[in-house]
Symmetry: C2
DNA sequence: ACGCCCGTCTGATCCATGTCAGGCTGGCTT
DNA sequence: AAGCCAGCCTGACATGGATCAGACGGGCGT
């Protein structure tokens, strides 16, 4: 069990308190436990070493701090090593809305490519760490390593597909379906990372969930209660248990 | 004025009727009027010729026909030459929802990269033509031509950003704001292509608009009427006029 | 030119979710 | 240990949009 796994299980990172959020630590895809989930999946030893040279630093972000904000110059993309982030977009009238939650092994910052400026804000929901991947170098390494290029494209495409799914959800599903779909999505992603699929802790508030799902926090709360009454989930504050995953999946298809 | 421009202005393509939808015609980015809007923007002569060799064929899609459907094997992406498409995603319960409209110079099919299978369906809303861009060859040319690689990444990123914007819209805006934002978006894209920003024809039905915006067709209809009463737009069937663009933009920020 | 039908508009009603308000709990600070 | 406050839950009420129903009009095919 590696250093990273331990931290991902919830150990607080106290040594960064009082220091600036940005730190420069060595990163290494070749020895990263998330490697198969991340950009470096499926690459051979030699290519991994090349990536290691590019992904030269990590950065720690304390809970509540922003990794980047709207308008920031785009230079790098980020891979979450441990912790959890939310990304939020800006409405025309200034309100913010959560557009996604990123957990270990997922990328942040791809939105900045299109015009060299970030158009959303990424905030850590708990003490977190990311690998900093300078994008220009990533592109040039992609030119040398087709498999890496392929991975990048796959990740970008996957992100588009996920956004589309959420779109469809917001466009045509009811509150209970939205929430159920959200929980199932979290469940799957936990499972991918080797954690329990049917029991987990929500790291985000009801406000953030509501913002993400296009609902008010009150409705989120009520809907949790309703799903519990229907026996589909068990809720205790931030603790969620899904006693019957197939049943919940089935509920979505109504 | 080229052949393409003439067709884009609305001349019906009659010669394809009764034939299979797939046709093999020469394509040429180097002489395409959409070149600056599309993937080949900013490239030099030599690189353009390289692209021309890859983007070797076009395909005509009659109104109502699908360019690709959910589950189809992914091999190519497509650039719209003229015409208009809608993409629709599949709900868990089988219902379909429109997730986007693509006009000349925009790309289709990027959703298929992530697992080599299309996860949405692209349907022509009028007789249309696309350039077929084999993706494997596109990737390999991207390795040789950094500017092309950059363009591809930019386009993908832009698509992600647009999806996010729509997400925010669906998550927190009222019917009138959604519709206004939709019209402004169309207006901008028309302007980019050299057409009037304040007057245009809607090529999609109220149903399709409603599906896209997460509203019923009845609400779309009513909301058009409401916006007209408020003097923000003039509607006559599919004909839209926006007498005061800044006023409509201002309306969004409420 | 005629008639059919799809797409659109409008009205009446209902329901899901937003809004406003109050009270509870658990975790953090002092 | 006490107190405070953010986050959460629940209730009562308001409302925007969905739903159901019907009428109109224009485009298309015969």
């Amino acid at each position: 069990m590696s250093h990273i796994d331990t931290q991902f299980h919830g150990v607080r990172i106290t040594e960064s308190q009082g220091r600036p959020a940005q730190q420069h630590l060595p990163a290494a895809c070749s020895s990263c436990s998330l490697h198969e989930l991340c950009l470096s999946g499926g690459l051979d030893e030699i290519d991994l070493e090349a990536i290691d040279r590019i992904v030269a630093q990590r950065r720690r972000i304390a809970k509540g701090e922003a990794l980047f904000s709207v308008g920031d110059a785009f230079r790098s993309i980020y891979a979450v090593r441990f912790g959890l982030f939310k990304t939020e977009g800006l409405m025309t009238d200034g309100r913010e809305q959560v557009t996604g939650f990123q957990m270990a092994g997922e990328l942040l910052g791809l939105d900045g490519i299109s015009d060299d400026r970030h158009v959303c804000k990424a905030v850590a929901l708990e003490d977190s760490e990311v690998c900093v991947i300078p994008f220009a170098e990533m592109e040039s390494l992609g030119r040398a390593v087709p498999a890496l290029q392929r991975n990048l494209h796959r990740v970008m495409s996957r992100e588009m597909v996920q956004d589309r799914n959420l779109l469809v959800l917001l466009g045509s599903a009811q509150a209970a379906e939205r929430l159920a779909a959200f929980l199932l999505n979290l469940s799957e992603r936990h499972a991918q990372r080797g954690y329990a699929a049917s029991e987990f802790i929500l790291r985000m508030t009801r406000d953030e969930i509501g913002s993400y799902l296009g609902l008010t926090p009150e409705t989120v709360s009520r809907t949790f209660t309703k799903l519990q009454k229907d026996g589909l989930i068990e809720v205790a504050q931030k603790h969620i248990r899904i006693p019957d995953l197939p049943a919940l999946r089935n509920f979505i298809g109504c």
